[in-house]
Amino acid sequence: MDIKQIQDLIRFVAKSGVEEVELEQGNFKLTIRTKSTGSEPSPAPMYYPQAGYLPPLQPSQSVTSAPTTAAAPPSAEMLAPSAGTAASATSIEIKAPMIGTFYRSSGPGKDAFIKVGDRVEKGQVVCIIEAMKLFNEIESDVSGKVVKVLADDSSPVEYDQPLFLVEP
């Protein structure tokens, strides 16, 4: 077994999720252990490809994961959601300044003040909140593109509840 094969084997074991692999070929014996609980990177495994003899890897030298290969997939997975949160981190919520009933239009059968995809300007009326027959035209305090409507038409909303998501 040459060094290349051993390296490949270590990578394979690291990826497989198996905790321990023992390999014996004549007087050649190889044990690869992975630290299933360890999350901190262990020292790089050392090999002693001395003629015909390879000492078993010590626990301290055991393979947790090949830093380059094993680290890559999770980070790729992490990227997608973090890209999503990055987008909403830049978006601004228009919140309810009071408790009441949320209306998206000025009256039944009328067009909504704003829809997803619309451009909204600071000071533009975005909805009506009605509480105890007090009708409040709520103006946007930001300018940008409406990316999401967060409350249902004619539904009760709480104080400070996000109503719209706007990307400035």
């Binding site: 300044p97 009071m98 009441g100 209306y103 009605e130 105890m132 007090l134 009708f135 009760p156």
Partner: protein
């Protein structure tokens, strides 16, 4: 009492005095600006409910109120002050006992005499309010489909000149706003004691509970109606509950 000057614009007829006033440049108009229409062709109650009024017989007007130092969350105080002013005005002109049916109707007995429609805007952090009032004054008969309506003339038994009624409303409005500014506590007490069916059992209907009886015990800080059933007191937003007659 702080003087509150009202500037009145009279119109022969308009769609709705609230809409007319809202279409004006509210920032440049003085607080207390009032639009009165002799005839509202499309007077509105809350959210497009029609307010029926015969030409020249009733008071339909809208006041612009601003600079009252109210935060958006404190606007329930404004509803209380305006409701109280109409209540007192009707009581002064007729001698009748007048109640405020939560949230925005003014009642004599079991009949409605006036309704309010308040629309608010927040301009530079200040609450700007357009207060619409429909007060039945000299209308003697009402259509069969709104039997629970009455007017000043029906209650008092005589004709009321509209300019005099408007003056009475303005006087009471200034008075109530002064109380609101000086003591929110007194305003709350006056409103609670003026509530329709206060301390009495009444029938209600809600989507969750269906038809039920409860005792009216007041309103909370958010203006929600407090109803007691057995030991339990629950707060209701309007829309969550309806009075059943």
């Amino acid at each position: 009492m702080e003087t509150f000057r009202f500037a009145v614009t009279e119109l022969e007829s308009t769609h709705s005095t609230n809409d007319y006033l809202k279409s004006m440049d509210l920032a440049s108009l003085p607080a207390g600006f009032c639009v009165v229409a002799h005839y509202q062709t499309a007077g509105r109650g809350q959210r497009q409910k029609q307010w029926l009024s015969l030409p020249g017989q009733n008071l339909t007007c809208s006041f612009l109120l601003k600079g009252l130092g109210l935060k958006p969350t404190q606007q329930i105080a404004l509803l209380k002050a305006v409701s109280l002013s109409v209540k007192h005005c009707v009581a002064d002109l007729t001698g009748a006992t007048v109640r405020i049916k939560w949230p925005n109707d003014i009642m004599v007995g079991r009949e409605k005499i006036a309704g309010l429609l308040i629309e608010n805007f927040i301009q530079a952090g200040d609450l700007v309010s357009v207060v619409g009032l429909g007060l039945n004054v000299n209308q003697a008969r009402f259509p069969a489909f709104c039997p629970q309506a009455t007017s000043l003339c029906r209650v008092s038994g005589h004709h009321h000149p509209l300019p005099q009624v408007l003056l009475a409303v303005e006087y009471q409005l200034a008075h109530s706003l002064a109380i609101m500014k000086s003591s929110r506590h007194i305003l709350d007490q006056m409103f609670a004691s003026g509530l329709y069916a206060m301390g009495q059992t009444h029938e209600f209907e809600s989507p969750g509970q269906g038809l039920f009886s409860a005792v009216v015990v007041g309103v909370d800080a958010l203006g929600r109606l407090l109803l007691q059933q057995g030991e339990q007191i629950r707060a209701y937003l309007n829309g969550e509950i309806q009075w059943v007659f």
